[in-house]
């Protein structure tokens, strides 16, 4: 079975631009979460979606938004890019996303560089 896939793998943008990152979960998984990993730090939670509804949001500005589609894939959008948005953006999928024992499976990430 295919794992979590993300596209693109790398992206270079300039300050003020907008970016869209894409994620396809493992087949059968209905929940997708997004994390930001700045160089040298652990990932930080951005969003969680389940059945197209936002379930949770981390401490990120409104420039960050996301959505989930009927096929459970997801997009993360970031507007008005800042240099500090440069990071590895990770997508994770799970069956429901709402249980303690449930594992979240991560994709390889999209590395975003803002110049």
């Amino acid at each position: 079975d295919a794992g979590v896939t993300q596209s693109p793998t790398h992206l270079i943008k300039t300050r003020g631009q907008q970016v869209t990152l894409r994620c396809s979960p493992i087949s059968g998984h209905k929940s997708v979460s997004w994390y930001q990993q700045v160089l040298g730090q652990g990932p930080q939670f951005i969003f969680q979606y389940y059945e197209k509804e936002e379930r949770g949001r981390g401490n990120f500005p409104d420039r960050f938004s996301a959505r989930q589609f009927p096929n459970y894939s997801s997009e993360l959008n970031v507007n008005a890019l800042l240099l500090g948005d440069s990071a590895l953006y990770l997508c994770a999928s799970s069956w429901t996303g709402g249980r303690f024992e449930e594992t979240q499976y991560f994709g390889p990430g999209t590395r975003l560089l803002v110049l």
Binding site: Q41, G42, F45, R55, G58, G97, G98, F100, E102, Q104
Partner: protein, 115 residues
Amino acid sequence: AQSVTQLDSHVSVSEGTPVLLRCNYSSSYSPSLFWYVQHPNKGLQLLLKYTSAATLVKGINGFEAEFKKSETSFHLTKPSAHMSDAAEYFCVVITITGTASKLTFGTGTRLQVTL
């Protein structure tokens, strides 16, 4: 709030010697804890998870961790390090809020394995 603290930012061992990566947790209830590994330029891979069953948890690639409530610890160990174990390791706690779950990561421990 749930949190984890990784006590060492960098650990260096010789190939064939034991590995110990330390993690303490803070939680107002019995936590679910995970260890993930991240190889350079790769996504996160689950090593093992604790969800209030057996306190000694066995994972992939010979790793195991012991949940000690009295010490609020969840240290990761391996009897004999291999060169391929060199990577960044993250201790993680899951937080459930309503129907949402999020992973809170420690700051990471970089494991170096030398010949």
